[in-house]
């Protein structure tokens, strides 16, 4: 009986750790999505300053990067 109690306590402990890890990853990804959004703003500013310098590919990459970071955060939330 004592052994069973110890095992159940241990399993709760591991789950707690996993929840903390998940929370930390979601928080980190939230900050990263903000960083990705700032990059898109930065690209807008750069393209406005220097017209004609690869505007479409650079914008597409910046927005694609933000989209992927949102998707990764979605994956983290679903874990």
């Amino acid at each position: 009986m004592n052994q069973l109690l110890e095992m159940s306590q241990l399993s709760i402990g591991i789950n707690d750790v996993l929840i903390v890890v998940k929370l930390m990853m979601v928080l980190a990804l939230l900050m990263y999505v903000f960083f990705a959004f700032l990059i898109t703003r930065q690209v807008e500013m750069m393209v406005r300053a220097l017209k004609g310098a690869l505007p479409l590919p650079v914008k597409a990459i910046a927005w694609g990067h933000m989209l992927v970071s949102l998707m990764v955060m979605g994956v983290a939330l679903m874990l």
């Binding site: 996993l18 990853m25 930065q42 500013m45 300053a49 017209k51 970071s69």
Partner: protein
Amino acid sequence: MEDVFENTVGKDSEISQEPADETERHPVHREPEEYSDVIRNEPIAKSKLSAFVVKPKEIKFETQDSEEKILLLLRKHVMTNLGWIVFIVVMSVLPVGLTYIPIISDLPGRYQVLILMMWYLVLFGYGLEKFLSWYFNVYIITDERIIDYDFYSLMYKRVSEAKIDRVEDVTFSMGGAVMNMFNYGDVYIQTAGEQRELEFEAVPRPEIVVKLLNELAIEEEREKLEGRVR
């Protein structure tokens, strides 16, 4: 008949004198090809990723005047990107060793996959930021001005500029084996304006940049002497 001939000659001479007076009053602005060996002889770069672009056709900057022409657009030499490219390559191979780190290898498989996704995402973001910083931090030489575009951190922009006629002294330096091997260096431009010194860091072929600036300074002097100042 004689009168008619004389009259015609008289009219012709009047007509031919008019444009000469007009030119004296409003002297023509010379094209850069007329006074600059650099612009005449340097080939036009076709790649949009070049660090040394003579007369870029499609590029315009926000404060450019309608008559102002970009003569040279410079970025840091491509070799200056080597450090972060190598860093990214090394870091992208590193997750192979992740399974040997006890804390990560103890996590369930789906957590490990997520950590891997985050790793490559951050790496990509870092590379993108470095590329943008290299690509958009440009030095522009027009027929009237020198402009230095600096984008610091994520949202900060600084544009320094100096009129060609305010340039007092131009020097360049190349130090180290790599700089000499790939022919790039720093160009320092002393001006009489508020912005005392402009610095073009690690630009390709600094001697050509200095030569062009000298040619432009001479042309500005000539423009002043001949009253062709825009």
